[in-house]
Structures are given as C-alpha cells and as structure tokens.
Symmetry: C2
DNA sequence: ATCCATTTGTTACTAGCGGTAACAGAAGTA
DNA sequence: TACTTCTGTTACCGCTAGTAACAAATGGAT
C-alpha cells in the first residue's frame, strides 16, 4: 500500500531524527554547548550533510534539542503551579522545580540558556535569532498563569507579563549564580527568593546608622 | 630624559588602545555583537595581529570594551541608590536608570549581555569564561548595597546576595523583553517592577472561579 | 527484468573565523 | 654605527558552519 509505505518512511525518518537528537544530546553533555556539528555527526555514526538535511542548520538542531527539555520543564512547572495548595507553597514548588532541574543537569540548562560558552575556543551553539528562547517562553507561560489566576485590576495583562518575565529572570539569574557558587542548599535559596517576592524588601528594617536602602 | 621617554611611550600606547577600543565600538554598534576581529582591525586602519598584541585575545578586547560601559552603568546605579530619598523612590530610580541606559543604546547592552547573537551567521563575541559578566557584577554590587543598608537578621549576607542577583535578573529579563516588544512606556514598566518587589504578588486577590495562583 | 524516483550516505570543497609565526622598517639609545 | 624596541605587515594554521556533487540502495510501476 502506498499510504503504509509513506507512513513507514515517515516513521523511519522520525526515528532517525530521534536517534540524531539523542546523539547530539550526548555530545552536548560531554563537550558542552560548544559541540561542533562534526562531533555530533561522528557520535551519531554518520557525516555532516545528513545532520543538515534533517535540521537545516545548527539553529534548527539547537531548537529541536531545546524543545524537548523546554517542553518537559514547562510541563513540570505548570504542574507545580496547578497543585491544590496555597499561593506561597505553589510559588516555592515552582522555584524548587526549576532549581532542581538545573541542579540535576547543569550542562543541559547551561546549553539552553547560554548557547555560546565554554573556554575551549568554541564558536558557540548559535541559536540564530534569540539568545535564550527558553527564558522568553517561560516568561510568557508564567505571565499567562498569573493573568489567569490573579486579579490585577486595570493594566492587569501588562502587569502580568512584566511580572512573568521579571520573576523568570529573577529565578534564572539567581539559579545561575547559585549553580556556580553553591553558597547554600536549594531549599534555602527557594525560601530566600519566595521571601523576596513576598515583599521581603519592604518589610525589612533599615540598618542602624544609614538612611536605608 | 629616560623617564619622560618611557611615559611618552606608555601614553602613546594607551592612546592607541583607546583608538582601537573606539573603532571596536563603532564596529560593534554597526555590525552587532558578532563583529569579527578582521572587521575591527580594518575599521581601525590596521591589521589583526596588532589587535592581538593589545588585547591578547577576543575575550580581552571584549572585557576592555565592556569595562567602560559596565563601570559607567554601575556608577549611575550607585548614584541612584545613594540619593537621599525613601526606599521605594530609590528602587524606582535604579530601575529607571538601568532601563533608560538599555533604551538609549540597545546594541551596546545587547552586546554586553548576549555576547553571541545576530542572525548573520556569526561565531559570536566569545567572552571566554563568563557569559555575561555585567550581570554578575551588577548582582554582586546590588547585594553589597542591600547588605550594607538593610537589616536582614541571620543568614542576612546570604539573603542579600540571593536578592541582589535575583533583582538584577528580574530587571534584566524584564528589560530585555520590554526592549523587544515595547509594550508600554518606561515609567510604567518601572512601576510594575517596583510593585512586584513591593509584594504585589501577595496582596493581589485571587481571580474569581479559580483556586488562586 | 527493467526503468525510475526517492532516500541515505559519502567525499571534497568553500568561505570565514580566531589566532600566530616570521619577517620588515622606523625610532630612539649607546 | 650597532642594538634594541615598537609598530606594522603577509602569510599561514586549524578550526568552524555549510554545500555541491556524486554513489548506492530501496521499493514501486511498467
């Protein structure tokens, strides 16, 4: 049958694609975000042009690779935010989910966030257009959740988006710093960040002897 | 005189260095962060090896170029935070200072924050070690200010650093998003962010019909 | 069986990158 | 005049992303 045949072929192509993505992931995990197309092709047991046939260019491979993790992370964050608990507990759960993810697979998330890095004179895993699509995506997702769940009055939409991107940025920057310096256990970082969002900056007292921050 | 001579030479070298940096800045502003060493050398009217003699490698040139803007920005942020006004006004002034800066010279700050970008098939302006030293620097600076000015009880230092990096990340991510989408005037973005830091997330009511965020 | 289209794979190349070695003059010093 | 130091060049290396051109296998259709 013609249809069956074509589905087989498509199925085969998709299976191949998955194999290639898994090879790429292995290389990225081993060599860091600066992995070269040659190295990835070699790991997959083939040569470069095949990679380009499947993904177009390096940005395409990056996007395909990023999409999996991004989707997985977004799903678990949504789950954390949807749990039937009070607001503070949910925010802490979301923060903890994100931080646990970057703690468990630092290379993956460094790759997602900072496409070009690593000391070894690399040219970087260039995204093409955006520097960190994951951040923007997370920001938009959180904005949606906020807008859906919280009554923010006039300018509510706008506020929700600002807050979404702002909170995600806060989480990311703090996580990045924490991952490098490891100054405290995760739970304490989560608590500090939640405290900040809970108005810690307003309720804290000025230090004696100064005009206050 | 020997000393005079040596000072002349040093002065000449430093003047040269400034010329090169200005050429580099022109190219970065024109071509984006992916500017090549060749292009910069050409703009300065010389050839590559001279650049390398002055700055070691591309990271060195990046750092030298970044240091100027970073210092300038840090100074104005410190000034905003040191003004004799109440805490909220100072936070808003700092946010506004940062956002005004990235609004006035977007290319410069995109270059500082996202060393590798631009669609035109570039290899990126690789920093070498850090992806965005400016962010980390700002985070540490803010942490210092917070620790100096606010009484945070036990774990105060740790809290201050988390908050410093978190707030800077929030500012950066929101600014990045705002710069691309321009969804509202700057002052409103500033107000939204300050509201968030002032516990907007806690005081806002749940939306009717849902379990709340 | 044969012809044909499609897919999978290769080798060999381009253009450009960051970075360097080797060499040529100019300038001041002894 | 001889020596050192600095500025500048050309010509290269090894690497990268990306592509063109060609070979072979696969699986219908006639």
């Amino acid at each position: 049958m013609e249809t069956t045949h074509r589905e087989d072929r498509l199925g085969a192509a998709e299976r191949r694609r998955r194999e290639l993505l898994e090879a790429a992931e292995r290389v990225v995990l081993r060599d860091g975000p600066g992995a070269s197309m040659n190295a990835i092709a070699a790991e997959a047991g083939i040569t470069k042009p095949i990679l380009y046939r499947h993904f177009g260019d390096k940005g395409g491979l990056y996007r395909a690779l990023a999409a999996r993790h991004t989707d997985a992370l977004v799903d678990s964050l949504r789950a954390a935010l949807d749990a039937p608990r009070d607001r503070r507990e949910r925010v802490e759960a979301a923060l903890d989910t994100y931080l646990a993810a970057i703690e468990a697979r630092p290379q993956v998330y460094r790759f997602l966030m900072h496409p070009a890095e690593e000391p070894g004179g690399d040219r970087g895993f260039d995204v093409g257009q955006h520097s960190a699509p994951l951040l923007r995506r997370l920001g938009e997702e959180l904005a949606t959740v906020i807008a859906e769940r919280i009554e923010l009055g006039p300018e509510g939409e706008e506020r929700a988006r600002v807050w979404g991107h702002g909170i995600v940025g806060m989480m990311h920057a703090a996580g990045d710093w924490w991952l490098r310096e490891r100054p405290c256990p995760r739970e304490r970082l989560v608590r500090h960040l939640a405290d900040l969002l809970w108005g810690g900056l307003v309720t804290a007292d000025d230090r004696a002897g100064g005009p206050g921050f």
